[in-house]
């Protein structure tokens, strides 16, 4: 008797659970209010402001906004939801996480069917390309890009006898080698580090400025053969050898503390990092300014809005995308929040060009950052990009921490990437 019951019970339970977990067994498609939809976003980017703007204009619409967590936590939550759970109607996906979801486009609504095919021309082509499948399905609409610039402390530059005007500072470093010379001069004059670190402030910027990153144009892995990746890596090692950095890994507690204390004078800052600098070092308001990145242009980051296939109210979610991510919508969001539009038609808008930020000595952030994303050479970003990026970054961090010899760094990095790509 007992012997029969136990396996039967397990089987019954298993069947129940598996049925509940299978994608497509959509039992919760009950009727819902057509004016209500659920929206998952990241923390720290104040998506609530955009939602408030929208609901003010449409008082009959209700948006249930959930700030899930960091960008990767949001992607993790979305993965579990897609694998078998309640999915949101609208979700924000960070650019580096997108390729993973692009591998299974059947999990998302093809936005072309909702009218996105008429709007795709509004966006930067190389950004739009990332969220389109080869057969023309549109999975996501880009919400912002991560244009590049350098932020620097005018007070510390002055003390070191360097120019402080942003035009002159930008002219100091047309190339990364020139930046290295400026760094040497700064360290000689003050005895203090110039940059925060090598892996993020040098390597991650330089590698994102190339015409090809870890995948070739044929969408096959090429990180170990691509001379541009190796050049960015070698540049990072060269800057390390010059000893001009504080060796504070980005986002670590020491990085935040050092920024507040002025223990380094310059940080590479994609447009989305300005917010982090403001919140991490509020006492330094007005002491920063923004100059161009060596090399002039580049992009790191950016996000997309997507609608999961099982969404209850795809229509309401699409209406939100269509209105808030239109060129006018993105411009308004930029003026309010500072995230950089992906719609080049507004790049010459007088309001965007006139936008300044008092925290950064009234630098015209609209102009500086949009200048850095026009004329970018697009490259393919694949599903393993985040893994490869982290391993290369980690190898350089190990060099800074004195755990890996610089001449061993590249081979260590390649071994680590190979290990990380298994499984």
């Amino acid at each position: 008797m007992k012997r029969v019951i136990t396996p039967a019970a397990i089987l019954a339970t298993a069947v129940l659970l598996v049925a509940g977990c299978t994608p497509g067994s959509n039992s919760d498609s009950g009727s819902s209010d057509s004016k209500t939809f659920e929206f998952w976003s990241f923390t720290g980017i104040n998506q609530k402001a955009a939602v408030d703007t929208y609901t003010k204009a449409h008082p009959d619409v209700r948006v249930k906004l959930t700030e899930v967590g960091s960008t990767s936590e949001t992607a993790q939550a979305l993965t579990t939801a897609l694998a078998g759970g309640k999915v949101p109607d609208l979700v924000l996906i960070q650019g580096d996480d997108l390729p993973k979801f692009m591998q299974s486009p059947e999990n998302f609504v093809d936005l072309a069917t909702l009218g996105a095919d008429q709007k795709k021309g509004d966006y930067l082509d190389w950004v739009m390309k990332q969220s389109m499948t080869e057969d023309g399905k549109i999975i996501g609409i880009p919400t912002d890009v991560g244009g590049m610039a350098m932020v620097y402390r005018t007070d510390l530059f002055k003390a070191a006898g360097l120019p402080t005007d942003r035009e002159q500072v930008s002219k100091l470093w047309p190339t990364w080698d020139a930046l290295l010379d400026v760094g040497r001069r700064y360290v000689q004059a003050t005895g203090k580090p110039f940059l925060d670190n090598v892996p993020t402030s040098v390597f991650f910027q330089a590698v994102n400025q190339g015409s090809e990153r870890y995948y070739g144009p044929d969408r096959k892995l090429s990180y170990d053969k691509n001379p541009q990746v190796k050049a960015a890596f070698d540049l990072a090692l060269k800057v390390h050898a010059a000893g001009i950095t504080a060796k504070q890994a980005s986002w670590s507690t020491g990085w935040t503390a050092g920024m507040g204390k002025g223990d380094f004078a310059a940080v590479s800052a994609p447009s989305w990092m300005l917010h982090a600098i403001k919140t991490n070092a509020p006492g330094t308001a007005g002491k920063w300014d923004v100059a161009t990145i060596p090399g002039g242009s580049g992009n790191w980051g950016g996000s997309y809005l997507a609608i999961p296939k099982r969404a209850k109210n795809a229509k309401a979610a699409w209406d939100y995308i269509a209105e808030m991510q239109s060129p006018a919508g993105q411009l308004a969001h930029f003026l309010q929040q500072g995230s950089l539009p992906t719609t080049p038609s507004v790049y010459s808008d007088p309001q965007l060009l006139a936008k300044t930020d008092p925290f950064f000595s009234n630098a015209p952030i609209g102009k500086i950052y949009t200048d850095s994303v026009v004329g970018i050479k697009p490259f393919y970003i694949g599903p393993d990009d985040p893994t490869i990026g982290i391993e290369l970054l980690n190898a350089l961090t190990s060099v800074e921490q004195g755990k890996v010899a610089p001449d061993q760094a590249w081979s260590t990095a390649l071994t680590n990437v190979k290990n990380a790509l298994r499984g």
Binding site: A9, I10, T13, A14, L17, P23, S72, Q76, T79, T80, L82, A83, K100, F101, Q103, S104, N107, A246, Q248, A249, W251, S252, T253, G254, A257, G258, K261, D263, T387, I390, L393, N394, A395, T397, S398, Q401, G402, K403, V404, N419, A420, R422, G423
Partner: protein
């Protein structure tokens, strides 16, 4: 319903249990205990056994949670054996476990002995305050400790600097990061174990200590010959629970060293097995490989528990 009940009521009325009723009673009495324990086992099957078996199943696949899955047999396990990251995580797990558990239990034992002292004033205050770290959020504890151990701005390195030594980059080195995490774990659990020991100590008759004192035994001798033997069963219990907990340390390494995402440092110097599992399963979404790590962890815990069990039975048979 009523028809079923009728014979029973009839039997009750006559006061003479029939043979049928006696059998019924016997069956009920024999089944009742199973019904009482059923809720636990039902929940255990759903939330314990099923996920466990399912993990074994998933480990045989190349499993993308939102995409395709292919049966690969034992390939995940052979990959795992060749993967230096797995062996590194195993080393880190055991090192952090030893560094946190051993000092923690010794300290708890000593503290329980002191807190049990007759002449201790405000005993309840002290006894309750050892539990404060346990009720503090792990995330908050971890963030505070990570700042204490910081290379340039941490309080610990400030003292080290005052003493004229060079700053130590705790998070960057293997030992430094292990000591840092072990400290967090010990900080959290020492008070909890102290209370367990204390509760057990309070059942030890005071006369024993008084008699020992009269016989001239000092504090250490009392501790060695009365406290420790009395605590033997509870020591065994805490060793087993802290072993199982110690092999599954996760939150501390996840939050202590944000450099490198889920790797606990650029060289994975403090990535534990559970964090490696999480990195594979939910960072890279390789459910199959992550599940294989889970199975390996399961086997390791079973082996360590078996060793524990053998040691425990030896200690039990050793009578004081």
């Amino acid at each position: 319903m009523t028809t079923v009940l009728r014979p029973a009521t009839a039997a009750k009325a006559t006061g003479q249990p029939t043979r049928q009723r006696r059998i019924q009673l016997g069956v009920r009495e024999r089944l009742a205990p199973y019904a009482y324990i059923a809720p636990f086992f039902l929940l255990f099957f759903i939330f314990g056994l099923f996920p466990l078996l399912f993990t074994f199943y998933v480990a045989l696949f190349d499993w993308d949670p939102i995409g395709e899955r292919h049966y690969v047999g034992l390939a995940n396990f052979s990959e795992l054996v060749d993967d230096p990251r797995f062996w590194g995580a195993l080393r880190n797990t055991f090192s952090i476990w030893l560094l946190s558990t051993v000092p923690q239990l010794l300290l708890a034992l000593g503290m329980a002995h002191v807190l049990n002292h007759v002449r201790l004033r405000a005993a309840t205050l002290f006894r309750m305050s050892v539990l404060v770290p346990y009720v503090t959020s792990v995330a908050a504890t971890t963030i505070v400790f990570a700042q204490l151990f910081d290379r340039d701005y941490g309080m610990l390195n400030w003292f080290i600097g005052l003493l004229g030594f060079e700053h130590i980059d705790f998070t960057a080195s293997v030992w430094g990061s292990h000591i840092m995490i072990a400290t967090m774990v010990a900080w959290r659990w020492t008070g909890y174990n102290t209370l367990l020991y204390l509760a057990s100590l309070q059942s030890v008759p005071r006369d024993l200590y008084e008699a020992a004192a009269v016989d001239g035994a000092n504090g250490w001798k009392q501790f060695r010959h009365i406290t420790i033997p009395a605590l033997r069963p509870i020591i065994v219990f805490t060793v087993i629970t802290s072993t199982i907990g110690g092999l599954q340390i996760f939150t501390e390494p996840l939050l202590a060293n944000p450099v490198g995402g889920l790797t606990c440092g650029a060289a994975r110097q403090c990535q534990t097995l559970t964090l490696f599992l999480y990195e594979q399963g939910f960072g890279r979404f390789s459910f199959g490989y992550g599940a294989a790590v889970g199975v390996a962890l399961f086997v390791i815990v079973v082996i360590v528990a078996a060793i524990n069990y053998l040691l425990v039975t030896r200690i039990r048979s050793e009578r004081p």
